[in-house]
């Protein structure tokens, strides 16, 4: 195999212009991510996509579907099977001006790249006083809910959010998936782009290209007055469901989709908590040292005298992610949210 493919189509695809949006259609998160990659590849010749099975197969989740055929082997290709190699070579490419968008096939399979991510990707800008920037997006399908066998359902966000130098975001719906991935690719900082794999096929009616709020901002998805329920990625749907159930019981739950895990949008969250005076955070990852700990700690630090009760965490248990037949007992549910809210003295 030679990388240079002289037969690749030379056509430059122009992304749909912003002022003439396509008609609204029903699109899944997977479809929106695919569209975002296609538009980014078309717009910027420095964008390249590579990783395991992202070529002709289109990725095991089909997020890169048809891109190899459309843009050729020089823009979208299958690499050898080695995650440290994928991240490490992406770093070298970014040093030369490319903007690699790489895929880790599943959450737990990004761990072999941990050294490249923590010691180089996250630190390069800092090490070089801003002289070397690494505009790289690492796409990671994460979390459970699809009945995956072991190592296919980890929620690894806490490892990345604790690492200074990384930006960590996660969309929960098709419009954000498109808009946030485009923004991540345009970012000059490395972005860990966490894709909630159980939500890949969730659809919404969207007209692409779409621009949603900046990816570093949280968004209030549903207003409420009694409690602020913070969620992200795969738990957003559950949070909205909990709010429905709560409403039926007369509880007014405000649902905030964090979207950006690092940085954390203190402003939006703070405003909501000051309004409701109670907060809870949901995630699938184990609770101990999970992302929810940071959320609980900083919300408490900043809003202590507005809080009527301790911040609750509705999360996975402190155990390895279970096998397919048992994951339903692990994953946080709307019922668990309500049960948790019930533990507060009101």
């Amino acid at each position: 195999m030679t990388l240079i493919d002289e037969t690749a189509p030379a056509v430059i695809h122009s992304p749909q212009a912003k002022n003439e949006p396509a008609a609204a259609t029903s699109i899944s998160i997977a479809g929106a991510l695919n569209a975002a990659l296609r538009d980014a590849l078309a717009e910027d010749p420095n964008v390249v996509v590579f990783g395991e099975d992202v070529g002709p197969l289109g990725g095991v989740f089909r997020i890169t579907d048809a891109l190899n055929a459309e843009f050729g082997e020089n823009r979208v290709w299958d690499s050898p099977l080695a995650e440290s190699g994928i991240v490490g070579t992406a770093i070298g490419m970014a040093m030369y001006g490319l903007r690699p968008v790489i895929e880790m096939q599943f959450d737990a399979f990004a761990y072999p790249a941990f050294e490249q991510i923590t010691s180089h990707l996250a630190k390069m800008r800092n090490r070089t006083k801003g002289r070397v920037t690494l505009p790289i997006v690492i796409r990671i399908p994460y979390a459970g809910g699809i009945g995956g066998v072991e190592h296919h359902s980890d929620s690894s966000e806490a490892y990345y959010t604790h690492t200074p130098g990384l930006t960590v975001v996660t969309p929960s719906n098709p419009a954000d998936a498109y808009s946030m991935l485009r923004e991540a690719i345009r970012s000059d900082d490395p972005v860990i782009f966490l894709e909630p794999k159980s939500r890949y096929w969730a659809k919404d009616t969207v007209s692409l290209p779409v621009e949603t709020p900046p990816m570093n901002r949280a968004v209030v998805l549903r207003e409420g007055t009694d409690v602020t329920l913070l969620a992200y990625g795969p738990t957003v749907k559950t949070a909205l469901h909990a709010a429905e159930l709560g409403a039926a019981e007369g509880l007014s739950i405000e649902v905030v989709d964090l979207r950006s895990l690092s940085p954390f949008d203190d402003e939006t969250v703070g405003a909501s908590v000051r309004k409701t005076s109670r907060a809870a955070i949901m995630h699938e990852a184990a609770q101990f040292g999970g992302y929810g700990a940071e959320v609980a700690a900083r919300v408490t630090e900043r809003q202590f005298f507005h809080l009527a009760a301790p911040v609750l965490r509705i999360t996975g248990f402190d155990i390895p992610f279970p096998s397919p037949k048992l994951e339903e007992h692990y994953l946080p549910t709307a019922e668990r949210v309500l049960a948790a809210l019930d533990t507060w003295e009101w």
Binding site: E52, V60, W77, P80, L81, G147, V149, H151
Partner: protein, 405 residues
């Protein structure tokens, strides 16, 4: 260890250390005293039975001797059973009874030859692909399939079978094999560890580290690389630029063999020799079996996206079971009676497998908390109590609903 060095197939004997040295470079600098310098693996795979079913003579055997007809008949039986089992499991998976199943259809020669080469005390380190190897080593269908059905991560007792859990993180298990073999060596125990690796997984850093640790420590480890030419959708040509993967062996100072992975006779002869060599203190060996993954990667894969039907058909013509069948039939060992009785056994196995998978497993969600640590942790007991309470409530609700209905 006062053991003699093992043989590793007559014509692939290890060379004496007659290599020219740099003047003025102290010997220890680039070669230790017991380095064995094998010749480069051949690029024509070692083969004992041709696709026609006839015995191969000459250079391509690399001097390995044909296993006895009894041995081959035993291997044949295991291959037929394994294939029937594999087909049954694939069918059960299509019916939705299993969460996933990576079939080894077409790879039976590699799988069975490897298992057959091991003594009971030896350890096997399999991947997700090597289910039929577990079967052949005596793990029961339900203990095996518990993992793929999604009951628990590992359904059998590794210590009872000397088989590590099927590894999903690629190439990681190769290091475990090296570690176990080294521990056995340190304890002067007669134990060899054999690990499977896929062609794709050889690209991982862990594969390299395993090869290197094994050779530096001269650990009794056998690496069996099943080059089935695909890592999910990625063809071997995008995985490696080398002539063969077996060529890697020279860079670790260990013998490497490139073998026809659809010829069980050759695989058995080479692996047996490597196991024997490891057992007798001769260190690790790397063996590449060239084979083909006939099925999709798993049931959720769509191979039409990345390979031609013609290619699959071509490899159908190189089927490992057919080939052996021809040889044994010509040798007069595989009579219709024998064939029939093996086929009948295979059906019994398939039926047992179906039966086992048609039963609904009884799982206790509270067991989720029981095996995380050896000692109890108060915080985990709290979480366990939470789930117990939730389950009790659900139970109660269900009872109430049933009462009302």
């Amino acid at each position: 260890m006062a053991r003699s060095f093992g043989r590793l197939g007559p014509s692939v004997a290890t060379l004496p250390r007659t290599i020219a040295r740099a003047l003025a470079v102290p010997e220890h600098c680039f070669m230790s005293d017991d380095v064995v310098v094998p010749p480069l693996p051949t690029t024509k795979p070692i083969r004992l039975i041709a696709e026609t079913g006839r015995a191969v003579k000459g250079a391509q055997t690399a001097g390995f001797a044909m296993p006895s007809v009894e041995t081959l008949l035993g291997l044949y039986r295991q291959m037929v059973l394994a294939r029937r089992f594999d087909a049954q499991v694939t069918a059960l998976t299509r019916q939705g009874r299993l969460a996933t199943y990576p079939s080894a259809l077409g790879q039976e020669a590699c799988e069975i030859a490897a298992v057959a080469s091991l003594a009971p005390n030896d350890w096997l380190f399999p991947t997700y692909r090597d289910t039929i190897a577990l079967l052949t080593r005596g793990v029961s269908p339900v203990e095996i399939l518990s993992f793929f059905r999604g009951d628990w991560h590992t359904g059998f007792d590794p210590h009872a079978h000397h088989i590590s859990p099927q590894s999903t993180p690629l190439a990681t298990q190769a290091l475990h094999a090296v570690g176990l073999a080294t521990a056995a060596k340190l304890k002067h125990d007669d134990v060899v560890a054999l690990t499977f690796l896929g062609d794709g997984s050889t690209s991982e850093g862990d594969a390299h580290e395993a090869f290197n640790f094994a050779s530096v420590w001269q650990s009794p480890t056998v690496f069996v690389i099943q080059n089935n030419q695909y890592a999910i959708s990625v063809p071997f040509s995008k995985q490696s630029h080398a002539r063969t993967l077996a060529d890697r062996a020279i860079g670790y100072g260990m013998p490497g063999y490139f073998v026809d992975g659809n010829d069980v006779a050759a695989m058995y002869a080479v692996i047996t020799a490597a196991v024997e060599r490891a057992r007798s203190g001769g260190g690790p060996t790397m063996i590449e079996g060239l084979t083909y993954r006939m099925e999709a990667h798993t049931n959720s894969d769509d191979p039409t996206r990345y390979r031609e039907k013609g290619e699959v058909a071509e490899w159908q013509g190189r089927d490992p079971v057919d080939r052996l069948e021809k040889y044994l039939t010509a040798a007069g060992a595989l009579t219709d009676d024998v064939r029939g009785s093996i086929a009948a056994d295979a059906e019994v196995l398939a039926a047992a497998t179906r039966g086992a998978m048609n039963e609904t497993p009884v799982l206790d969600p509270l067991e989720l908390f029981d095996h995380v640590y050896s000692a109890e942790r108060p915080a985990l007991l709290e979480q366990r109590a939470f789930l117990a309470h939730e389950l009790a409530q659900t139970e109660q609700t269900l009872t109430e609903m049933a009462g009302r209905a």
